[in-house]
Symmetry: D3
Subunit: 203 residues, 6 copies
Amino acid sequence: MLDVSYLINEVILLLAAVFVNGFVCKNAMDVKAEDFFFDGLKPGNTVNKLGSSVNLVNVEKIPGLNTLGISLARIDYAPFGLNPPHTHPRATEILTVIEGELYVGFVTSNINGVGNKLFTKLLKKGDVFVFPQGLIHFQFNKGHTNAVAIAGLSSQNPGAITIANAVFGSKPPIADDVLAKAFQVDKNTVDRLQAQFWMDNNN
Amino acid sequence: MLDVSYLINEVILLLAAVFVNGFVCKNAMDVKAEDFFFDGLKPGNTVNKLGSSVNLVNVEKIPGLNTLGISLARIDYAPFGLNPPHTHPRATEILTVIEGELYVGFVTSNINGVGNKLFTKLLKKGDVFVFPQGLIHFQFNKGHTNAVAIAGLSSQNPGAITIANAVFGSKPPIADDVLAKAFQVDKNTVDRLQAQFWMDNNN
Amino acid sequence: MLDVSYLINEVILLLAAVFVNGFVCKNAMDVKAEDFFFDGLKPGNTVNKLGSSVNLVNVEKIPGLNTLGISLARIDYAPFGLNPPHTHPRATEILTVIEGELYVGFVTSNINGVGNKLFTKLLKKGDVFVFPQGLIHFQFNKGHTNAVAIAGLSSQNPGAITIANAVFGSKPPIADDVLAKAFQVDKNTVDRLQAQFWMDNNN
Amino acid sequence: MLDVSYLINEVILLLAAVFVNGFVCKNAMDVKAEDFFFDGLKPGNTVNKLGSSVNLVNVEKIPGLNTLGISLARIDYAPFGLNPPHTHPRATEILTVIEGELYVGFVTSNINGVGNKLFTKLLKKGDVFVFPQGLIHFQFNKGHTNAVAIAGLSSQNPGAITIANAVFGSKPPIADDVLAKAFQVDKNTVDRLQAQFWMDNNN
Amino acid sequence: MLDVSYLINEVILLLAAVFVNGFVCKNAMDVKAEDFFFDGLKPGNTVNKLGSSVNLVNVEKIPGLNTLGISLARIDYAPFGLNPPHTHPRATEILTVIEGELYVGFVTSNINGVGNKLFTKLLKKGDVFVFPQGLIHFQFNKGHTNAVAIAGLSSQNPGAITIANAVFGSKPPIADDVLAKAFQVDKNTVDRLQAQFWMDNNN
Amino acid sequence: MLDVSYLINEVILLLAAVFVNGFVCKNAMDVKAEDFFFDGLKPGNTVNKLGSSVNLVNVEKIPGLNTLGISLARIDYAPFGLNPPHTHPRATEILTVIEGELYVGFVTSNINGVGNKLFTKLLKKGDVFVFPQGLIHFQFNKGHTNAVAIAGLSSQNPGAITIANAVFGSKPPIADDVLAKAFQVDKNTVDRLQAQFWMDNNN
C-alpha cells in the first residue's frame, strides 16, 4: 500500500522547486555556496587501457552551473597515456598543461580542397591550445612522466563522443555493411573491432 | 607593373560592401532575388566508392543565407549507397526520404551507463528523422533502387566531418601510436588504412 | 471520490520526466528511436479554397526536436494552388521544389527608400529559395499540374501567421476603425472581409 | 584621372576601423560618449494620413548600439491616430503610454484551434503592454487629445513590416492572382488597393 | 492530518501548466491579454536617502514576457536624486529622459591603456543614452525639479547590482582584509562603511 | 610622397582576409596550428600592491578563438595576495585551485529580500567554484605560501571590471556628488580615494 503522505510531501518539495533546462532550479532563498562548489578535481586514476582519466565538472556535478554556459575538466595522463580522438558536440575546449608535456591535435572538417587537415602542437607546461567546437581532437603523453591538463569547455553540458567507441562499440552495433564500406575494411575486421571491450575514460 | 587604377577600383567596390560573418553583405539597394536563389539541387552523381552524393546548399551557395541560420541538402544514394558515419559540428539535421528507402541511425554521446546507444530506423518515402547536433549518424540504401533525401540543417554553415576520412585520411596523418591505441589495432593495420584513398562525397 | 493511488502514480511519472521549453524531456534511459521519427510527411489534401496544404513537422510532432533548433515542412499545391502571404515569426525558411513549378516571392521590411521591395522567382524542380525570418512570403502554383515543395525552418517551433486570416479573420475581429484606416478602405469593405470564412491550410 | 593619394587615404581610414554586423566598429581609443547618444527623440510630426509618427532609435542612429541587442522608439499619435497593423520580424516590443490613452492589440499566430486570437487592452498613462516577437500588432488613439508612447525593442535592428503597405504597396506589386485568392476579393479590388499611396510613418 | 484531495488538486493544476525558464508557462488556451499587461508604471516614491526610485517591469511583473528578451523601467529622481553606480549583469540599457534633465555616465572595463574611461553626457528631455551590458553606470539629477526616465533593458530579467550596497552592504559582510586592500583604506573605514544602512531604490 | 605600390599591396593582403567580430578571420588555407596556440601561461609577477597577477588568454592572444565562445586565465597570488572584487560583464567564470588555498566569494544581485547575499568558500587544491556572469567576486590568499588558480570564462572576450578602480580610479573621475551620495561618505573621503594610484593586475 502506498505511503500517501510521504509521496505528497515529495511532490510538494519538487513543486516548490522548478525545472530549468531539465535541471532543478532552487528557489533563490534556498541557494547555498555549496551549489556553486565541487571538491573532487583531484588526480584521476589512469590505470586503464588508455592510460588516461577525464574528470568533467559540468552541471551534473555543480547544479549552480545551470544556465551559465561553461564547465571545467581535469585530465590525467600516465606515461604514453592517450585521451583518444573524440569530439564535444556542443562546446569548444581550451586546454592548458599544468604538468608534463602533451602532443595534441585536431582535424578540420570537410572543406573543398583543404578539409581533414591535422593541426598538431607539442605543448609544454604553461602552454594553451584550442579545440574548436565539434572537431575531432586528442591528446597524447609521449613522455615518461605523468601529465596533467585543465580545460574549459563552453557549455554547461558539452557532451563527449569517443570516436572509436561510438563507431565500433555502440549498443547495439552499427551494421557491418555500413562500417565495412565507410572504413574500407572487410566485415571480419569490423566484427573483430566490434568484439573488443571499449572502455570509457570519463569519470 | 601593377595596374593601379584597376586595383583602386577593386578596392572601392569591396569597400562599398561590408563583411558580416566573413561573408560579403551587400548594400540593401543592390540586393536581388538571385541572392536568395540556387538552381542546382538536381540529382547528384553517385558513381563512386560510397555510392552517394551530398549537395549542401549553404551560405557559400546562397549568399543571402548570411545571418539566417539554416541550410538545405539533397542526398542521392545508389543501390547499396552509403552516406557514411559523419557529424555536423554546428547543426542539427532533419531529413525526409522523397524516393526509395533508407536505413538510418545515430549514436548517442558518452552518458554514464547509457552512452554510445545506437538508434536506427528504416525510413520509407515520406518519413522524417532527426540527427541531433554533433552526433555521429549515417544513412544506408539497402534497396535495389535509388534513394533520395532532402535535409534541413540548423546553420548557414553546418560543417561536415566524415569520421573515417578525418581519422584515417587526415593530412598529415594522425600518429600511429594514437590511432593504434584508440582503435585497439596494431600499427600495420593503421598504416594500411591510412594508405587508402579517402573520397569525399560532398559536392 | 478521487482515485488517489492512480493520481499519485500519474504525478510520479510526470515528475520522473522534466519540462524543457514547455515540452517533456524524457530521462536519457527512456529515449527511443521513435522520439526522433515521424512518418506522416505524405501528400497533403489540397481540396480547399486555397488549393494548398502545409504539413509542418515541428517539436509537437517529433518530441526529440526539443532544443534542436529546426523543423521541416512539406507543402502541396493543386493547380493554381496558393500558399498565401504569411510569415514565420521565429524562423527563416529554405524551400526546394521537388515536383512541378512554383512562383514564389517575399517582401522586404520598411527600409528608408528601399522598403517593401518584392523579390520573386519562378522555381523549377530542384531550385531552392530562401525566405528570411519574419518577412511576408508566398508560393503560387501557376501550372496545370500539382506542385510539391520541402522546406526547412530554423526553429523547432517557427510559428506561422497567415496575413489575411490574422488581419481579417481574428477572433474577436480587429476594430473597423483600425482596419479601414490601415487598408484605406471603407468600413463596409472591412465588414465584408471579416464576414468571410478564413480557412487555415496548416495540417 | 583618379586622385590616387586621396583614394589611398580613404582606404587606409576605413581599414583602420573594422566592420561588425555590417556596421563600423571604432577602435577602442577613438570611442566617444557621442557614440552612445542620440538627441532627437522629440515629438514627431503626425500630420499625415495615419495620424501617427514613429521615431526608432536603432543602431543606425546610435552606432554604439552595435552588438548590444536593444533599441528604443517614441511614437506620437494625433487624435484618432493609428500605428497600423505591423510586425517587427526580429524583436519583441514592450510599450508604455506616457501621455493620453491607447487602444492596443496583437493577434496570435496559427495555433490549432486557438490561432488568430486578438488580445486587446485600453492603456492609460503609465500602463505597459508587450507585443511578442513577429506578431501583428497596432495601437490606436481613440481619444481627442494627443497620445505618446515609448517602446523598447529587443534588437539593435528590429525591422518593421507595415502589413497593408507590404501586401498592397510593394514595388513591384504582388500579382493580382495571389492577393485576390489570399484576401478573397476580386482583382478589381486588388488593383484599386494597389493604386493607393501607401505612406510610411517611420522616421 | 493532510487534506489529501486539496493537495492532489493543487498538484494537478500545477502539472497542467509547465515551467519554462523557471516561470510558469500557461497553456495556449488559457492565455489572456492580462498576461501581457502591467498597470503600475506610475510616478515612484523618491523620498529616501538617494532621492530616486526604480520600477522595473520584468518577467516577474508581466508573466507574458517569458522567453521574450526584454523589460522596461521607469526611474524617478527628486532634485539632486541619484540612481547610484550600478550594473545590469545580463542586459544592456537604453534610456530616454521624459522630464527634467539628467547627468549620466558609464565606465568602460579594463582595456590595456584605455580602461576605466568615464563617458558622461548631460541629457535633456528627449535625449537617449546607452549603457552597455554589465558596465557600471549612474544617473544624477543636478536640477531643482524632478526628472523622469524610461529605459528598455535587453533581458526579461536583467538583474541589478548596486555597487556600494554589494561591496559594503552584503550579508554577511565581505572580510575587512579584502575590502581594505581593494579600496586602499584602513579597516576602520571599512567597518564604518559596513555599519551604514544600505537602502535599495528598486521597487 | 606615398609609396603607392606598397600601400596597394597592404590593401590587397587585408582584403584577402575578412573581419569577423572585429577580428581578422584568416582564409581557410592560411590557417596554422599557431593560430590556436598560446605559450605564455607561465607564473605571473605578483610583486605589486594587490599581490596578484591575472593572465587572461582571450581572442586577443589566440586569434583562433574568434567565434568560439571561451577563454582561459591563470591567476597567481602571493601570500595575502588579492584578486580584488571585480566582475566579468560578458561571462561566467569557473575556477579551480592548482596550488595553495583561496578564500573566494561572490555577491548576488538585488533580489527583493535576499539580495546582496555573500557566498564564500575556502578552496583547497583541486576544488572548483563558479562565479556567475556579471556578479561581483574576489579571491584572497589567506595563506603563507603562493596560490595559483586556473579559470575558464564563457566568452572569447569576457571583459573585467575592477570595482574599486572603475569607481574611484576612472578617467576622468566620477563627480564627487555622485560618489559621496552612493557610498555615504563625505567629499573629502572621495577626493582622497580618487587621488590614489589604482593599479590593474591584468596582464
